[in-house]
Symmetry: C2
Subunit: 204 residues, 2 copies
């Protein structure tokens, strides 16, 4: 289907098919809107391919539940019930990660972020998912809650065919260096500039 | 839920709630990836709110079917069968718009684009949808297939509470001027630069 012809064909000994199917590290960064939304849009495509999807949201409060979670989890149910699409797991920091079922403490975000990354590392090693969305993961990286080199090395050397999408502002230069695809979302105009606050169905 | 405080509170006589709920014209432009993907991610949120969604894809070939169409139409079926979420209509230029059921001629894209816009205009007047995604609509605007002033005036003066999202590169300055929210997606790095072509589940 795609008609694109790459400007450079590398001398890497791979066939076009092998090269095409290399797993990607995708980064959505910048101050504009659409970083997470585009990542969840990508998850739609993955679901349609029957891929296993793991979303890990590094948000401070798990009370905030966005529409995408409801819909993607619904698609995960659909997979379980009818076999359509792929399975979906959605995990949020903030009130304790869902796999650990430990009630989180609002004050220990650093420990929670480290715990989240440790689980992602285990899953990458086990090749649990085909697509992993690490939503707003640039912040724990920036704040030193996880070790940047550990993250970059682990993702760069992950086994098999796992696509990883990282979203968030101010992505670390080492992450950008390692990424296959980087899009910067730049704010040109936002309703909040003229006094309009976020609204249901648009912002969440 | 959202904690944002707008930097300016305008003297427009509206309450915060009235201002918050104003319908938006959103433009995703720029050369980077994620313009359409983020628009379809937004459609997920809208579906979850029970909104009626209309997608109008200004693509030259209707043979190209992206994963998002399959999934969003599936969500539309789910609404029809169970009442969950909202209804979804997905229309594509290229082989004749689905509502007209006229077989399209590959050579008359300009007429098809004009026909698509005429239908969108009728729907805006009738307030058929809560969210309209005009995917890749910047191109017919750029190529003179639709009248830019007509588009801008019609959208600016649309009745009721209809959100409109326009995607595509090189958005017309008049459209940007009218938009409430503009995000530019900038390519920082793309696998095609190093000879990797698009792949299933990621690009479509």
């Amino acid at each position: 289907m795609p008609q694109g012809r790459p400007p450079v064909v590398p001398d890497d000994g791979l066939t076009t098919r092998q090269r095409r199917n290399r797993p990607l590290l995708v980064v959505h960064t910048g101050d504009g809107k659409g970083k997470s939304t585009a990542a969840f849009g990508l998850a739609l495509r993955s679901w349609n391919q029957g891929w296993s999807i793991g979303v890990f949201q590094f948000v401070k409060s798990a009370k905030w539940r966005i529409g995408e979670q409801t819909v993607l989890e619904r698609l995960g149910d659909l997979h379980r019930d009818t076999g359509e699409g792929g399975p979906v797991e959605w995990h949020k920091m903030g009130a304790g990660w869902s796999w650990s079922r430990k009630p989180g403490s609002e004050s220990d975000h650093a420990a929670e972020a480290a715990e989240g990354w440790a689980e992602i590392k285990r899953r990458l090693a086990a090749q649990t998912h085909d697509l992993l969305v690490l939503d707003e993961f640039t912040y724990p990286m920036q704040w030193g809650w996880v070790d940047v080199e550990d993250v970059v090395e682990t993702i760069a050397n992950r086994p098999g065919r796992q696509h990883v999408v990282v979203t968030g502002r101010r992505a670390h230069p080492r992450l950008l260096q390692t990424a296959d695809l980087v899009t910067e979302m730049t704010k040109v105009r936002h309703p909040m500039d003229v006094g309009q606050k976020g609204q249901r169905g648009i912002e969440w």
